[in-house]
Amino acid sequence: MNWDVLLDFSPLADNGDKLLTAFWATIRISLTVAVLSLLIGTLITAMRVSPIRVLRIAGGFYVNTLRNTPLTLVLLFCSLGLSDTLKFKISGTSTVNFFWLAVIGMSFYTAAFIAESLRAGINTVPMGQAEAARAIGLTFTQSLRMVIMPQAFRAVVAPLGSVMIAMIKNTTVVLVASYYEAASLMKDMFEQYGATLPIFIGFAVGFMCLTLPTGFFFGWLAKRMQVAR
């Protein structure tokens, strides 16, 4: 056994700037997906509780489809299906194009999980809240926006944190959509130096630097936002 290779952290040190760039790409895609998936997830949840039957069915169909499809498939559909076959281009620059295709795939996928959490959150809001909202003359959308959703969100901050952590780790799959981020760099380094333990550890620690604070942040937020009943 060659202990030197096992303990050789120099590949990480030598590629410091590449590592930073790669993790920055991970951070960028994570943040963009976080925002977009929250928007889409909220919209889907609104559809699922709306008084219009067609919207409810469509929302349910969306969640069940996306939640049960492997992310790799969704991303491949975005990169190969949308981009190559259907010639759907967001930007002429290929890196920008791949970034947004990956963002679209991941956002639609993550939104299904957010929608599922949010619906659980809505179930924690007592019926009386919606009735009181309607009784003072708020419309359905107003009650949802001002009374139900804010309370539903507060109830599921912690589970949403888990969805976000899973999402950050899922960004490692976007290499199938040709967007270059941390996992892509790791793969390249494996090819160059062999799959050594230090490289594994380096990337694992890199991801923990992103996910652990995310977890702590959502835990803190959950406490702070908790609604007393």
Binding site: R134, A135, T139
Partner: protein, 283 residues
């Protein structure tokens, strides 16, 4: 002239309100009864029917509530009192008949119905204050979002109302930090902030500890004295005697008897009512 005072009464400054209340006696009620007779119908239910599946919960309900009138609805559990109350602002849709408020039939679900609900205040047994908002925000939400009142103005008026129900010092707290009685008074202020034409109360004191019942009833008695049109589901006979113009006795989805409070409690016409009263009076 009477109309004016009734219409604008929730605007009166607290002092004016208090002055009227201190004079609130039987004679005050009689004076109001004189007004009521000239009040004209405000809420009219005609031949209203409602089912929950097989269960026929409202059977051919005819009921007219005049402007300024206080109607107490009383009756055994499961008789349909809550349902009746909730159909008036269409929280529950009906299966037959018509309900008109101020001459207008209740519209279908949508913007028009929301507007109409804004004119009908509702106070629930379980208060239902918005748990994520402060008391002040609870009271200003409707005026700002539904009435499009300017925020400063809405807050100023909310504080007046909170002052009136005696919880101005709690304005910045969250509902869970208040006692039941305080929460219910906040809920009344929230409903009043919309300047409703009529107020519906569904057992407003039955979730309260006994020592808090009075503080809520006092607010309601004052409101009645001020000329507010009210429909109150309650078993509080004290309130019925002090404020009601009419008692409606409901059982098995039907209005069994309509009577004055004095007559009803001492000399009910129907056997159902006599039987019911003997049960609630013996303990």
């Amino acid at each position: 002239m009477h109309r004016d005072r009734i219409g604008t009464s929730p605007l009166l400054p607290p002092q004016a309100f208090d002055v009227r209340f201190t004079h609130m006696t039987e004679s005050g009620k009689e004076a109001r009864e004189a007004e009521v007779s000239g009040g004209g119908p405000l809420v009219v239910l005609e031949n209203v029917n409602k089912y929950y599946g097989e269960l026929h919960v409202l059977k051919d309900i005819d009921l007219t509530i005049h402007r300024g009138e206080v109607v107490v609805v009383i009756g055994p559990s499961g008789g349909g009192k809550s349902t009746l109350c909730r159909t008036i602002n269409r929280l529950e849709p009906i299966d037959g008949g018509t309900i008109r408020i101020d001459g207008k039939a209740l519209p279908e679900e949508g913007k028009a119905l929301a507007q109409l609900r804004a004119d009908v205040g509702m106070v629930f047994q379980s208060f239902n204050l918005f748990a994520h908002k402060t008391i002040l925000q609870n009271v200003t939400l409707g005026p700002i979002k539904v009435r499009k009142t300017d925020k400063t103005e809405a807050e100023q008026r909310a504080m007046e109302l909170l002052e009136r129900v005696g919880i101005a010092s709690q304005a910045e707290k969250y509902p869970a930090q208040l006692s039941g009685g305080q929460q219910q008074r906040a809920a009344i202020a929230r409903a009043l902030a919309m300047r409703p034409k009529v107020m519906l109360f569904d057992e407003p004191t039955s979730a309260l500890d006994p020592e808090m019942v009075k503080e809520v009833l006092d607010v309601m008695i004052n409101l009645a004295a001020e000329g507010m049109t009210m429909v109150v589901v309650t078993h509080e006979m004290g309130f019925a005697r002090a404020s009601a113009n009419k008692v409606v006795f409901m059982a098995d989805g039907q209005i069994v008897e309509e009577n004055t409070p004095g007559e009803f409690f001492t000399n009910a016409r129907s056997d159902r009512a006599k039987d019911f009263l003997s049960k609630i009076l013996t303990h």
